[in-house]
Amino acid sequence: VNLLAQTSPGTATATVNFPTVVFTLMVWSALFFALVVLAMPDRTAEHRARIKALGASGTGAALFFALWALQTQAANASAQLGGGTPGGELVEDHGWLTSFPFSVSYHLDADGLGLALALLGGVVFFCAALAAWRNDRRVKLLTVCLLVLETAYMGVICSYDWLLFLLFWTLPVAPVYLMVRAFGHGHAARAAGRYAAGTLISGAIVTMAATLIDVQGGGRSFGTGTPPITLPGADNAVAFWLLVGAFLLAMAVVPLHAALLDLEEDSTGSLAAVFGALLPSLGAYGLLHMALGLFPAEASRFTLLFAALAVVTVLWSGIAALRADDLRRMVGHAGTALMGLVLLAVAGNTTVALAGAMYVLIARGLAVAVLMLLTSGIQERTRRVRVSQLGGLAWQAPHLAAFWGLGVLTAVGAPLLAGFFGLFSLFSGAFPTHRWATVVVLFGVLLVAGVLMRAAMRIFMGGERESFSRVRDLGPLELTYLAILGAVSLFVGIDPDHLAALFMNGAGYLLFQGSYTQ
């Protein structure tokens, strides 16, 4: 772009300012590919192959722009140029609806938290698109829904305007509902209905909160980029708790986790990976960015409640996972338990804890995605999904066993994998505020590790079974997308410093907007 703006030396040059469109491309590129896919036929195998290729390209494009934004902001943060806080060089803010009593703008931006989730989402969607390659049933529907869901995901984390946020927040209902109904099994209808109901309730509550904030705030602007907010009287607390309720519902923490567990249990592998890894992360984003970011004072008053919720979530889910025989449900419970760590970070209310939560969100997402994809692989190969019915699979599928180990180690924070620095930072940040809760949650991690590792032993170890003699190991395609997920986990684990400044800036922005200085 800059080369195009240059003229020959010696002549007067006119400055040409091109609008920055990285976030726009990150959000909408997937939808653009979805529209193209909609216009394509899917009658023959060749048609379907083209659609799949477009699906992978769409998710790949979003990943590319997410990495671009992440790297740009990370470099700025390292150079102490403000990367990781909104309002940087990539911000897009244009008037949208200005003729009404309130104004709405097309405002896209991302802080450290948003960029962390953009990285996670980009990678997981890309891998899910690759994982869906072997599906030959309703290819167009799956591809379009996946791309629309990615648009919604990226849109949520880039929206800095309430209307835009609400649009993207409720957008996943349709694609998720359709995908679960069309590709789910078991009680897919019930799972889809529960999820849709939960999301719609969550959307309605966020709408109420946004309306309250907008009207009582007196700004007449639907923008979310001017925190912290102070509303008159009890409205502050009401708006805060509305947001907290809505986002806890989306995070699927105990006792609101049933809908997500159903969704994970009754979906196919690639979809379960997306749902389990990303949908709760959106809830966590909302809780941190909206509830905590807009109302830091309110959040700091109720840290004990968040700590208690974190303890309950980690212990309840960890113990329930111990008993769960269904592999998907067990992984789902483990994922829910790890989401309790984010609640602990909110309770910690320090920049170090929140930065740790960002690493943990990445690690949790990667781990759940890997384990869900592998669960699907196991189910596809053995026609079984109950842990008690499995055993000795490492004989036939050693790579599958190895990647399961990688997923487990990522989840529990093994050194040099994505979770390890996150756990360290999160606990270091949360301990000063809530010592006992931190200790209990820390040993909840041990519980999760025990559950996942014991499952690994029962699934893969032991004598060879005749019934699984024809089970095959991971193929090249599966190895490819699992290796991508593993490589991201390794990169984040080996060089956490690359993202540290970015995440710290983001966390500082959430807690100390306006007064935040490095």
Binding site: A182, T211, R323, L511
Partner: protein
């Protein structure tokens, strides 16, 4: 030169990575062994260089890079330093150079052992690359410049040990044992993480005020140089806000307990002894990894010193563990189990000596006991292979069938029983009772520790001599399927490993001999050797402890040795099955209570998850049923008119529209706080 220590740590890992491109398992093993051997070579060079430059323990050379830097908000600097950062790299002092050389040598021997014992094993290649990674992790821990790197390296050690413990993953008994070991070690890692968290919470701001070491723009948290000062400050009343004796005790517990777990000290020895079904090289690697526990204790010694009673408690824990582990060795019949428990028991004496203020003696015991313990493991492997059993009751007559292996076992027994002076070192530290920075154990504690240690020193020669007599003396016990004629000497490669391990043990003992301070000269008189005695080389602080030869300690150790051997001689005449009847086994009056507690714990552990899971299904899941089913009914109703795909889409869209409309109506009716202009 000290930058070469990076090579020591990274070369084994590089070897492990390169082994993946090797075509055959044999070549992969060679690549891994070359990596460890190269590491050993460089470690010896660094050791020699340091040895020749008269450097004291207190002046480490550090080569480190920043691992992470977090900049908390300025309002949070009461909790953290203004730059919350830590470093990773290599810390070259006398302790790390000595132990890196030892560990690389021992792990090279373990890999050599594997070339003989795992030949044809399907996990041959896997063992080598995992053991190389484990070597890198152990070396990274020993040469860690910061507590953070210690935690990180120990996490890798946990992973490596898990992978090794799963070597025979296809056997049903392997999984549970490996899982238990993983849970214990991972739990210890989490306790250590909690120690790190408490450290930065209590001392972070203090460390931030210290002067940054050369090469750093700010003081890295967890750097041992920073920690040493911070621990001292914390012990001075009023120097560090919010810290006191309680803080120090908590820190001691959080940092020392993981160290004791790593060293497989009682009562958490089961993670090690439970691995006894694993192949012998795996057990060898696990034994070498025990050293990390003692090194961690040495690294936090400054904290233990400034915390009143901490060292005394450590000495007591070590002494009790030493007696308990020696008694377990005496009661065990599995030669592998005896070897593992014996290794942990020897380290218990190291812990005792460290607790008694004998920093150098404690580390010397660890230094000596590692090759000695490995010697028994190697010999045990040869014997178990030849006799096709691990039960020492079914052995015998090895002296006539396996002369060289018997010599190795005899050498181990002689060294372990007391000739390696481990017992003397522990006793001398206890009798001297002088902490490096001043202070000592209370007289009562000293007496208790001394009595327990003497008891352990009697039991050790007892089980050592009994093992020698059971295995080497007499004739092979007749048993079904056992063919006496087939019992033959170990193959040459195993004998080579035995010889090398035995030589290493003897050299380690010689290095530890007290009172040798031969200042010699090397080369053209420009390189001086400060002394051969270990305690002149590895000591706490800037000045070495004055450790005089203690005749009383020597005498007591000799008497204990004699008593133990005599006891073994007497017991050897009693048949195995009669032994149990003749020995006075105490009946604990608390046994029923313990059993009851155990039963209830097991019942709770069994039922709690089931109850929680049931509650999850019956209480929480229905929360979403009503709204979910409402949507379903809507979708079903629409489906009577339209195609399926459209029906689903319409249901979702309709639900959104209905909700939004509902809220609009509420807002219009003034039931929502919406302002109109």
């Amino acid at each position: 030169m000290y930058v070469a220590e990076w090579v020591v740590v990274l070369l084994p890992i590089l070897g492990a990575l390169l082994s993946f491109v090797a075509e055959t398992s044999r070549r992969a093993a060679q690549v891994c062994m070359a990596g460890v051997a190269g590491s050993l070579l460089v470690a010896l060079m660094v050791l020699g260089y340091r040895f020749a430059h008269l450097t004291t323990s207190a002046t480490p050379d550090v080569s480190a890079v920043s691992f992470f830097t977090l900049l908390p908000n300025s309002t949070e600097t009461t909790i953290y330093s203004s730059t919350f950062s830590t470093d990773t790299g290599v810390w070259v002092d006398n302790l790390s150079t000595a132990f890196t050389a030892l560990v690389t040598f021992l792990l090279l021997l373990v890999q050599g052992l594997a070339t003989a014992m795992l030949r044809g094993d399907p996990g041959y290649r896997r063992f080598f690359w995992v053991s190389s990674v484990l070597a890198g992790a152990v070396l990274g821990m020993i040469a860690a410049p910061s507590l953070f790197q210690v935690w990180m390296a120990l996490g890798l050690v946990t992973g490596g040990l898990l992978a090794l413990a799963l070597h025979r993953w296809h056997r049903d008994e392997t999984g549970p044992a490996a899982w238990r070991a993983f849970m214990v070690l991972f739990g210890a890692d989490l306790v250590l993480l909690l120690g790190l968290v408490v450290t930065v919470y209590k001392l972070g701001a203090t460390m931030g005020l210290e002067n940054a070491p050369a090469g750093f723009t700010s003081a890295p948290d967890y750097d041992f140089r920073m920690l040493a000062t911070a621990w001292r400050d914390a012990a001075s009343p009023g120097t560090v806000a919010g810290t006191g004796y309680r803080t120090l005790v908590i820190l001691c517990l959080l940092l020392a307990v993981p160290a004791l777990v790593r060293a497989a000290q009682a009562p958490v020895t089961a993670w090690l002894s439970g691995l006894s079904e694993a192949p012998l090289p795996v057990l060898g690697a696990a034994c070498v990894s025990l050293l990390t526990g003692v090194v961690l204790l040495a690294r936090i010694y400054g904290l233990l010193l400034v915390t009143r009673h901490a060292l005394s408690a450590l000495a007591l824990a070590g002494a009790v563990g030493a007696v308990g582990l020696a008694a377990l060795c005496l009661a065990s019949r599995d030669i592998y189990r005896i070897a593992l428990l014996s290794a942990a028991g020897q380290l218990a004496l190291a812990v005792t000596a460290l607790g008694a203020g004998g920093y150098s003696p404690g580390l010397l015991i660890a230094f000596v006991s590692a090759p000695v313990s490995l010697l028994l493991l190697v010999a045990a492997g040869s014997v178990a292979r030849a006799y096709r059993t691990r039960d020492i009751r079914l052995m015998g007559g090895a002296w006539s069938k396996m002369r060289r292996t018997s010599v190795a076992i005899g050498l181990w027994a002689a060294l372990a029983a007391g000739l390696d002076l481990v017992g003397y070192d522990a006793l001398s530290a206890i009798l001297l009772n002088r902490f490096p920075g001043g202070g000592h154990m209370a007289a009562g504690v000293q007496a208790a520790v001394a009595v327990l240690t003497v008891a352990a020193l009697v039991l050790i020669p007892l089980y050592a001599a009994r093992l020698v007599l059971s295995v080497c003396a007499g004739a092979p016990a007749p048993r079904r399927g056992g063919v006496v004629e087939r019992i033959a000497e170990a193959e040459p490669r195993l004998r080579l490993v035995q010889a090398a391990t035995g030589a290493a043990a003897v050299v380690a003992v010689l290095i530890g001999l007290p009172g040798i301070s031969a200042a010699g000269r090397l080369g053209r008189g420009q390189v001086r050797i400060p002394g051969l005695t270990f305690s002149h080389w590895v000591f706490f602080g800037a000045h070495r402890q004055d450790l005089p030869v203690q005749p009383w300690a020597f005498l007591i150790a000799a008497v204990a040795l004699a008593a133990g051997v005599a006891g073994a001689w007497a017991l050897a005449r009693v048949p195995w099955d009669d032994l149990r009847r003749r020995l006075p086994v105490p009946t604990l009056s608390t046994r029923p209570a313990i059993a009851l507690v155990g039963t209830w714990t097991a019942r709770l552990a069994g039922t709690l998850p089931a109850e929680v899971f049931a509650a999850d299904q019956t209480l929480i899941a229905p929360l979403f049923d009503a709204p979910g089913e409402g949507l379903e009914v809507t979708a079903w109703s629409l489906g009577r008119w339209r195609g399926r795909r459209l029906r689903l889409s319409l249901a979702a869209v309709l639900a959104v529209v209905l909700l939004l409309t509902g809220f609009s109506v509420l807002a219009g009716g003034g039931r929502l706080p919406v302002h109109t202009t």
